[in-house]
């Protein structure tokens, strides 16, 4: 039998029902793997006892024959999700020692299904970053290394801990969140599947907000099937989130027919950005060819406003963040600065926030405050919102013209080394999101599927973009792409 930690959700589901192993055995195996993963710094908190307790409950349900798909499945949870009685800090110093008295809707749903919690996963502070380097816990490290090199690589970000943990088999799957690419980029960097659902598909209640109109939680898994299973457990209307949609959740797994004959796959010419490496370009071309071989029709399309997406994103996201992060003021919870004699409330705010927020978060809060300030609002925020409308319209036009899914690279490059971008202009780091932010701006579902290794032996991913609420169809195409790519590489264990 394969090692338990190497199993997919689908395999574990089958094995649990066939009584090949118990949920407790699964949890024990993952607890041990997670405990031995310190060099990856993927977990910010481990909850081994909770895992065993939940696994025992899952075993009881399995024995009773009343077990949903996710029952007994050991998961890692991104630190952005508030989990009752378990540290939830959004990887920020400002939330030091914060223990929520409540459970996010998504994790509640997963636990109701019987899923098992292994611990909390590292991430960029407040999900702001593309390399997990802005975390107060220090960077998560990718289990992948360049061939013949010991350089520590980033697992991407912001869901870097989730990506590292899934690809290192120290959890079976993980939750992620994606505001501009934070699920798809790290998934691509680590050779796993990352699905960002349609905005409104998954509840945001209890998930620390970064940019409310863009944030969306989703699954990070080994396979497209696992993503389909886990999304089914996470999705659904939540009356506590006004932006969550009251739309039926289809059987996503049933969409894995493998049949994409006649599907029209759009290749947007504007995504062939300047300076794109030959290996990414080739990966993209070959991906399209494989879909064509599977019976799809490949169509050249235009999404003319693409080039404005990144600047618009870096106005809207910081604007919302500057307001969302105002509640972290040192008054009610989290970090409070020590005050000197005669210090007043403004000193409390300024010192607590200066000490509690990292540099990248401070940068974005300041950018956000700037673009919203009177006299600049129209020129920045309002303009960016107009761009956003145009970008959405580009996608609408493509789908109206009969395109079923859009294929693009997931990232402009493979994973880079931790610290490599330290001296670069922050905009260089922001360019990591160039292929992914459009999807958030338009509120569409997108999925990153592993598609090959680069010359250094590092994973590369392709992104598929679907219609609003079209996750099922997106999963159909992603499943076919996954089958055609047949990506089987695993990182070699060094930690």
């Amino acid at each position: 039998m394969t090692e338990l930690t190497a199993l997919t959700i689908a395999e574990a589901r089958k094995g649990l029902r066939a009584k090949q192993f118990t949920a407790r055995e699964l949890a024990e195996a993952f607890n041990a793997a997670a405990a031995a993963s310190a060099p990856l710094n993927a977990y910010s908190a481990l909850t081994p006892e909770k895992a065993l307790e939940m696994a025992d409950a899952a075993d009881a349900r399995l024995a009773a024959g009343d077990a949903p798909d996710m029952c007994g499945i050991p998961l890692g949870i991104k630190d952005l999700f508030c989990t009752e009685g378990v540290p939830s800090q959004a990887a920020s110093g400002i939330l030091e020692n914060f223990l929520p008295t409540y459970e996010s809707t998504i994790t509640s749903k997963l636990w109701e299904q019987g899923a098992v919690m292994l611990g909390k996963l590292n991430m960029d502070e407040f999900a702001m970053g593309s390399s997990n380097e802005t975390s107060v816990y220090g960077p998560a490290v990718s289990p992948w290394r360049r061939a013949g090199s010991n350089t520590a690589l980033t697992p991407g970000g912001s869901s870097g801990g989730s990506a590292a943990a899934v690809s290192a088999s120290i959890c079976m799957a993980a939750t992620g969140t994606d505001t501009g690419g934070s699920i798809r980029q790290p998934a691509a960097f680590t050779g796993i599947v990352g699905l960002k659902p349609t905005y409104g598909r998954c509840s945001r209640w209890g998930v620390v907000a970064f940019a409310s109109s863009l944030d969306q939680a989703g699954p990070m898994t080994r396979t497209v099937r696992d993503a389909a299973i886990m999304l089914g457990a996470m999705a659904g209307h939540d009356p506590k989130d006004s932006t969550s949609a009251d739309i039926a959740v289809p059987d996503f797994e049933a969409a894995l027919t493998g049949d994409i004959r006649g599907k029209r796959i759009g290749i947007p010419r504007e995504y062939r950005v300047e300076g794109m490496s030959e290996e990414i370009d080739r990966l993209w071309r070959e991906g399209a060819e494989k879909l064509r071989d599977a019976g799809a029709e490949i169509v050249d399309i235009s999404l003319p406003h693409t080039k404005y997406a990144l600047p618009a994103y870096y106005i809207i996201a910081p604007a919302e963040a500057s307001s969302n992060l105002a509640r972290y003021d040192g008054v009610r919870y989290g970090h409070r600065a020590k005050l000197g004699h005669g210090d007043g409330i403004l000193d409390l705010y300024e010192k607590s926030r200066a000490e509690g927020f990292g540099r990248e978060v401070q940068r974005r809060v300041m950018i956000g405050a700037y673009v919203l300030s009177s006299g600049f609002y129209d020129a920045y925020y309002l303009k960016a919102q107009k761009v956003r409308t145009l970008i959405k319209r580009d996608f609408d036009a493509a789908f109206d013209a009969g395109i079923d899914a859009i294929l693009t690279p997931a990232t402009p490059s493979a994973a880079f080394g931790i610290g490599e971008m330290a001296d670069a202009d922050p905009v260089q780091m922001y360019l990591n999101d160039v292929f992914t932010v459009t999807v958030n701006l338009a509120g569409l579902p997108g999925i990153s599927v592993p598609a090959g290794l680069n010359a250094d032996g590092l994973p590369l991913g392709l992104q598929l973009i679907g219609r609003p609420w079209g996750e099922a169809e997106l999963i159909t195409v992603a499943g076919a792409l996954e089958a055609a790519e047949n990506f089987t590489a695993k990182p070699e264990r060094w930690w």
Binding site: F81, C82, S88, A90, L95, F98, P100, T101, Y102, S104, R204, W205, G206, V207, V208, A209, A211, S212, S213, P239, K240, D241, S242, T243, A319, E320, S322, S323, L325, A326, R327, Y328, D329, V331, R332, Y333, I345, L346, Y349, A369, L372, S373, S374, Y377, Y381
Partner: protein, 504 residues
């Protein structure tokens, strides 16, 4: 719908050292929405609870919490808009107003800057019979109230009570159509009356359910008319905003002080700075809170956690259909249907309980007489005792019965007042009381005639004098009333005395 005719009141004139000045006032009234739960959370809005006991995770702005609109509060705002004859916007949206303060846990107030729920309407401010100011309403928007910072509990620390945080407010913004301190107070009073009729705000100013920010400027006579013709604000003076007033009296005092302060500055050759001021009722003066330069940049933007509010016209029409009769209409109806004076109609319609009481009394009876009894006898007495109409010991049915007894000639007006006292003190059916206690006035002319004859016979000298001096008849009437225990019909006594004495 019937309406009474009104003319505009004269604007208040202030005499400066160098000439006459007029006052221009616009108001922003914050009315707490009558609702059991807050605007975006399920926490209670109850007043007077222990600090920080009515606070949900949302109110405390815990990480990851999201607001969910309380639809009842939305309905209340729409109802209010309809009551002010205002445009209901079928599309409206919430915006965030960003600023830091300890009693504002989110670091922003959810309000409506760009797309308010209610547009233009009006309030008719009654000043005296036949005179009323039509004040235009610019907009009403929904927003969250802040909590309460307490600075005087401890020398070192400030304390915060979040019970009020997130309670729904309607900000009712008027145009600068109010032209004097008295009008301003009457405007608030009328607004409160309408809100209470609608049941959308309890109007309790002591508890802070109704608070006003008052914008005051002064201009020379004629300038305001130019503004109204052109809509150009440059005809008006620079305004100052007096924040957070919760008493009619202080509103008047503050406006009066502020207008005189501005006039003095201008007449001295200076210019008024646009700023926010506070009124100190102890000193009777306003003082600067912050200048325009110090004004916050609130960085408004649409709240991405909330969807826009969109209504079907039919839903709005449904609410309109359930609107009660409002003060102006009720007052007009009382004047036109019951024949009461506009002044009395104003008193009777001050609140719905009063009005309903009067209507029950007046139904099928003489309206003027009913108004007289309700206002002078009942309200007068209640006022004296410090009691509310709802607690009146005399019910509308009892008062109606007393009036019926007068109308039927069973009792005189004087006896009726005695009867009122008995009912007030002891209760009971007025008709039975009159019967049981023999209070019924004697209308049997035979019995009265006998009494008249007896009195004349007993006072032959006076009868003789009366023939020469008819005013003496009053003395005989009094004697007959005395002899009959006050129960004789005074008109009948008068007529018979005159007849028997041979007075024309």
């Amino acid at each position: 719908m019937t309406e009474l005719a009104y003319r505009d009141p004269e604007p208040k004139i202030l005499h400066g050292a160098k000439g006459d000045w007029e006052i221009v006032i616009g108001m922003e009234v914050h009315a707490q929405v009558r609702s059991n739960a807050k605007l975006f959370s399920g926490a209670s809005t109850g007043f007077g609870a222990e600090p920080n006991t009515h606070v949900s995770l949302i109110d405390a702005a815990m990480p990851g919490m999201l607001p969910v609109i309380n639809e009842f509060c939305v309905e209340q705002a729409v109802r209010t808009g309809l009551g002010l004859k205002a445009q209901i916007n079928l599309f409206s949206q919430f915006d965030r107003k960003n600023y830091f303060y300890p009693d504002l846990p989110q670091g922003y107030q959810i309000s409506q800057l760009y797309h308010p729920i209610v547009g233009e309407g009006e309030v008719l401010v009654d000043m005296e019979p036949g005179v009323a100011r039509r004040v235009r309403i610019e907009r009403i928007h929904l927003e969250q109230d802040a909590g309460k910072s307490i600075h005087d509990m401890d020398p070192e620390n400030s304390y915060v009570d979040l019970n009020r945080t997130g309670v729904a407010l309607m900000e009712i913004v008027s145009r600068p159509d109010i032209r004097g301190p008295e009008e301003a107070a009457e405007y608030v009073r009328k607004l409160r009356q309408i809100l209470r009729y609608l049941g959308t705000c309890d109007g309790n100013m002591q508890e802070g359910s109704l608070r006003a920010d008052v914008n005051v400027s002064v201009c020379q006579p004629g300038a305001y008319e130019k503004y109204r013709e052109s809509g150009d604000f440059s005809h008006l003076g620079t305004r100052c905003e007096i924040k957070n007033m919760n008493s009619m009296r202080f509103i008047q005092q503050a406006i009066d002080y502020e207008a005189r302060r501005q006039i003095a500055i201008i007449e001295d050759g200076g210019s008024v700075d646009q700023e926010t001021r506070l009124y100190d009722p102890n000193k009777g003066e306003t003082r600067s809170m912050r200048s325009k330069e110090e004004a916050h940049d609130y960085r408004y933007f649409p709240d991405p956690d909330l969807l826009p509010l969109t209504f079907e016209q039919a839903w709005v029409d449904g609410i309109a259909a359930t609107l009660p009769e409002l003060p102006d209409e009720k007052k007009a109806r009382f004047v036109l249907d019951f024949g009461v004076t506009e002044y009395d109609a104003g008193v009777l319609t001050a609140d719905t309980v009063n009005a309903a009481f009067f209507e029950e009394v007046a139904q099928g009876r003489d309206g003027k007489q009913a108004a007289n009894w309700v206002i002078n006898e009942l309200f007068g007495r209640l006022n004296k005792e410090g009691m509310a109409v709802s607690a009146s010991p005399v019910s509308a049915a009892q008062l109606g019965a007393i009036i019926d007894l007068i109308a039927a000639g069973d009792i005189s007006g004087k006896i009726a007042k005695d009867l009122f006292e008995i009912v007030w003190a002891e209760g009971g059916d007025p008709r039975a009381i009159v019967e049981d206690r023999g209070m019924k006035q004697v209308t049997d002319t035979g019995a009265i005639e006998a009494a008249v004859v007896d009195v004349i016979a007993a006072n032959p000298d006076k009868a003789e004098q009366a023939k020469a001096k008819p005013s003496m008849a009053g003395w005989f009437v009094g004697q007959v009333m005395k002899a009959t225990g006050g129960k004789a019909n005074p008109q009948a006594v008068n007529a018979l005395v005159r007849e028997k004495l041979g007075i024309e």
